[in-house]
Amino acid sequence: MKVEIKTAKFDPWQEIKSYQEQMQKEGLFGAMASFVGSMRDFNDGDKVTAMELEHYPGMTEKHLEGICKEAGNKWELVDVLVLHRVGKIKVGDPIVLVCVWSAHRAAAFDACRFIMEDLKSKAPFWKQETLEQGKRWVEKNTQG
């Protein structure tokens, strides 16, 4: 299992490839489900030109590791990779990657969704959007 906060832009596809290679678990998994969230240029009807993500160093990692362990208790998983950006983010940049490997597809799909929903609603991240008319903190979640 790997949880990492990224302060610079990352390539989710390259990260999945290199993590899957180094975990050396070929044959154990028959399924992999992944979710990549990227930055949109609109929110709540406004044009968003940039955003900055803040986290609570230490607690954020601890919380994400807890979510992954909880998923591992609910489903039989082979491995989990969670990466999340912080700092200044540009339109189109990947923000979050959740990737789950398991023997069969149901566990991979379900655990990936579970981790993502928990991350969105409980993990300590805060987002400040830059709009054409200034900056605003976002204090509510959009529906999945």
């Binding site: 969230g37 990227s38 930055m39 949109r40 929110n43 955003m51 993500l53 803040e54 609570y56 230490g58 607690m59 601890k62 919380h63 999340h84 950006r85 983010i89 923000i95 979050v96 991350l119 969105k120 609603s121 409980k122 993990a123 300590p124 991240f125 805060w126 987002k127 400040q128 903190w137 976002v138 204090e139 509510k140 979640n141 959009t142």
Partner: protein, 81 residues
């Protein structure tokens, strides 16, 4: 006892700082009472403020101990996707 306090996001901006170190007496104090001291009781802690002790979510009526790191922060948004 010594308590380290951290503020994040919009709360950090409204407090004008990211953290405080507080020397308080040995009488029992809860997280919400700590908020009252920090704000001079000018403003009750809003219902949507989240609280943590030593990087674990706690309810505002949890008591703080010497050496604790207490955090106050607004609702979390892991980036709307």
């Amino acid at each position: 006892m010594t308590i380290r306090v951290k503020y994040f996001a919009s709360l950090r901006e409204s407090f004008g700082r990211g953290e405080d170190s507080l020397e308080i007496g040995s009488d029992p104090v809860t997280v919400s009472e700590l908020w009252d001291r920090l704000t001079g009781r000018k403003q009750a802690m809003p219902d949507n403020v989240l609280t943590a002790i030593n990087m674990e979510y706690v309810k505002p009526d949890t008591q703080v101990k010497d050496g604790d790191e207490v955090a106050f922060f607004p609702p979390v948004t892991g980036g709307k996707l």
